[in-house]
């Protein structure tokens, strides 16, 4: 079952934004997220908005038509020309669509706004859903970056996660991507899966490093409510992942990746250099604007956050009628934007300027420094930046800074 949407106020049918949201828009980076809500099968731990062919109620051709229509809709609502700095196609499994469809959608985005000359264009992919030919087509269509769901190299871990690929396939796909001309390749890892040993995860890290990618994301397994995995935990078939184990794994990831020249730039993300960092995700974390195309996709423009209806068929029907597919939205207050800013920036290696902290923030930062959760050199230079232990306790530090 996909996770639920937030509560918010209703979305106007025209999708119209308050004037304030578009003030100074030209100065803010702009990106497009495209959500492809299809998977060959649902993994047991996944609560994303994705559907197997039998569940979706919308065939892939109709989805592409609807997504193209929303791109045109977005162009009308936003009005002004804004070069697109980043495109990120996520899912679901975007590569379940024929590469030609992904190319058409990207071309439509380019037609609507124009891609910036150095635009980052990423697609997610499952290792088993790409091959050298499809990768070549994507590269030629303008994709510059690919993000592969590797998760683990341990067969029993992949089995528990209900992933379909074989242990060696992800690294192989990464090499195929580089051969197809992708300069930037990411591998996603999951740690803390019940049954995963420290050695299992060390091997997964080593395999990711050996694949020669310039970016790794590593996430602790979260048992999301409503997933099959949550059901198995509840019934006692599978133990709940332990936070202490997750902390050990995180430290292992930091050690192995840093040694391989991949440096953290966000709590769960490591990259070889500035160019290897995911520009699209950085836009999320630094208050940039983006439009999310597709069912359940979230958008943010100038302090307005909204989210589309989740069911693909419902989404397609609304957009076909020329009505906004937005299910709800929220207009952020100044306080909301401050909270988000602290919450997102503190997760980054660049941190947040101490001068930007309000109320109880500065004394809380001093305490966090004394507790070894903030980096003393950065602090001396006027920034709050998490130490390694601080990264593991980031939420607690955020709560403290916001008191």
């Amino acid at each position: 079952m996909p996770a639920t949407l937030p509560d918010g106020e209703p979305m106007p049918p025209t999708g119209e934004l308050p004037g304030s949201a578009l003030d100074g828009a030209a100065d803010r980076p702009f990106g497009v997220y495209l959500h492809v809500p299809f998977c060959a099968s649902r993994c047991g731990y996944c609560d994303f908005n994705t559907y197997t062919p039998t569940e979706s109620g919308l065939d892939q051709t109709d989805y592409v038509t609807a997504a193209l229509a929303e791109i045109a809709f977005a162009r009308r609502v936003l009005g002004t020309d804004r070069p697109v700095r980043t495109v990120f196609v996520g899912g679901g499994t975007p590569t379940l669509l024929p590469p030609g469809d992904l190319a058409r959608l990207l071309a439509a985005i380019d037609d609507a706004w124009g891609l910036a000359p150095d635009a980052e264009v990423t697609t997610e992919a499952n290792p088993e859903s790409v091959n050298p030919a499809s990768l070549k087509t994507l590269r030629e269509a303008g994709f510059t970056r690919i993000s592969l769901g590797m998760q683990s190299t341990a067969p029993h871990v992949l089995r528990l996660l209900e992933r379909r690929h074989t242990p060696g396939r992800a690294a192989e796909a990464a090499q195929e991507a580089r051969a197809a001309g992708f300069e930037h390749v990411n591998l996603d890892l999951i740690y803390g899966t019940p049954g995963e040993t420290a050695a299992d995860f060390d091997r997964s890290l080593a395999a990711a490093v050996a694949a020669g990618v310039d970016h790794v994301s590593a996430y602790s397994l979260i048992v999301e409510e409503g997933t099959r995995l949550a059901g198995r935990v509840r019934r006692g078939e599978v133990p709940m992942p332990s936070d202490d184990v997750a902390a050990d794994r995180y430290l292992a990831a930091e050690t192995a990746l840093d040694a391989a020249g991949l440096h953290w730039y966000e709590v769960s993300n490591w990259a070889a250099d500035d160019a290897a960092r995911c520009a699209h995700n950085l836009l999320y974390w630094t208050g940039g604007d983006w439009w999310g195309i597709g069912p359940g996709a979230h958008s943010h423009v100038g302090g307005v956050r909204w989210w589309n209806v989740k069911r693909p068929a419902h989404y397609a029907k609304l957009i076909a009628e020329g009505v906004s597919p937005g299910a709800g939205r929220e207009l952020l207050t100044g306080e909301d934007r401050y909270v988000e800013d602290v919450m997102l920036r503190l997760r980054l290696a660049s941190g947040i300027a101490l001068a930007d902290l309000r109320d109880g923030g500065p004394p809380a930062a001093r305490t966090a420094l004394a507790d070894g959760l903030l980096d003393p050199h950065e602090y001396a230079a006027g920034r709050a930046v998490l130490t390694l232990r601080g990264r593991l306790l980031a939420d607690a530090v955020i709560r403290d800074l916001l008191t």
Partner: protein, 624 residues
Amino acid sequence: MPATPGVNQPGATDSGAIRNFCIIAHIDHGKSTLADRMLQLTEVVDPRQMRAQYLDRMDIERERGITIKSQAVRMPWTIREGERAGDGAVLNMIDTPGHVDFTYEVSRSLAACEGAVLLVDAAQGIEAQTLANLYLAMENDLTIIPVLNKIDLPAAQPEKYAEELANLVGCLPEEVLKVSGKTGVGVPHLLDEIVRRLPAPVGDAQAPARAMIFDSVYDIYRGVVTYVRVVDGHISARDRIKMMSTGAVHELLELGVISPEPVKSGALGVGEVGYLITGVKDVRQSRVGDTVTINTRPAAESLGGYKDPKPMVYSGLYPIDGSDYPDLREALDKLKLNDAALVYEPESSAALGFGFRCGFLGLLHLEIIQERLEREFGLDLIATAPNVVYRVVMDDGKEVVVTNPSEYPVGKVAEVYEPTARVTVLAPNDYVGTIMELCQGRRGVLLGMDYLSADRVELRYTLPLGEIIFDFFDQLKSRTKGYASLDYEPAGEQAAELVKVDILLQGETVDAFSAIVHKDKAYNYGTTIAAKLQKLIPRQQFEVPIQAAIGSRIIARETIRAIRKDVLAKCYGGDISRKRKLLEKQKEGKKRMKMVGRVEVPQEAFIAALSTSDSAGDAGKSKK
């Protein structure tokens, strides 16, 4: 049938026609239902106005089936059958509080009567509290009419319990009356017997007026309503009255009888029971046990027996939300108007903030006050574990009275005295062993043991009061499958080897958890609380040692390991709104945390750790 004309005239009733009685009964033995039948039979309540438990006023009384405040109802009655049939009388039924904490109030109610109906459930037999009140009535020379109630129940064993009652009262089993308050069977006969068996009040009508206050109730419209029993002389509505304990003189605003609604009257004479209103606003100015006389012709001597109510059990009451403190003060001020035994003074706790140290007559009194504060005043409270009052004598001879364990004196203690209680337990004889084990474990001294009947035993102990208020009753009930009943009364003090155990979180004493316990139990208390807290306090960013200590000596230790991971793995475009809302919720939750040094302790941890039961183990352990 209406009463004989002329007899039922307040202020002009022949004292020879008056019968003042109370009903001594255990909580659910049917006193209120029997009273309802009496109100109907004597026709003082219009049938259309009749409702169940007519005399019980407060919600809490009705729900718990107990009477906290007594009332006196005047009922005319004409003997229906047998000897002296047709004789008219005036019955005053004086209700008595049914619980152990209110022994003094019970004794005053009994002192206002010449006789008592001993009402016992025919399916259960007598209970310890009833027995205690029966002894109290016998000490006051009251004539006892033993009555078995609920004889309509299939489980009733009237023969067995008639024998038990006859043994206790010293009468023949066939003199025990049998009634059903529910169906009314036997109740007219009981009323006839009350007139026949109980003596009329005796007093000197010509002497200066003396009336005993047996109850005093605050009413928001009328001020304090004082219930009195006239012993000598005559009080008229035009008199100015004088309270003999304080000498305070009051104008009488109203005088009357309750039947069962207030009826004004011009006067009250010898033997009569009624109410008076003077306009005072606080029951402390019109105290139970005091003697009322007339200012212009005062009596030389009071009736005696007046005692200041003395709090036996103390507990700190704290609002969960600190901003409710003024509301708590206001609520206590209001309850005090109606409760001469409630005492309180402000105190502050490092752990719990601002609150009040409150003194109570006993545990039930504490529970009732706490419940009323929460229910009637909408307050959320934390109550610290109840404690008794200790008298500490220092080496230099200085004496300190400790009502809050955290104020236990530091320095050389020569002697510590704790209050004791005389305890009566009634139980089937199968449980004698287990009860003895419990009492011995609580430092009890056996005073005696008697068989009430072939299979029911009365055990008498002296126990430290502090041992009784710490879940003794719950233990007794659970070990005897609910069959044992308990009564206790204060019995002075004794020197004991007591120590103060402190609980420290990260080296800081948590005042709310300090306790004064016997030295042999200190280790047990320390390990129990430390283990509870270890489960109740969520992991913090740093390791938190929990220690139990006597002075500087650590007697138990637990550790809450530091939390190592508190971070969400993913925070992408679609996660931001949800994550922000989660943060705001966590911030709210943080406000409800109490800080002990740097340790965040959830309110639930205090509540659960302070509760005497073990069931509250997993509250507050929720993930942040």
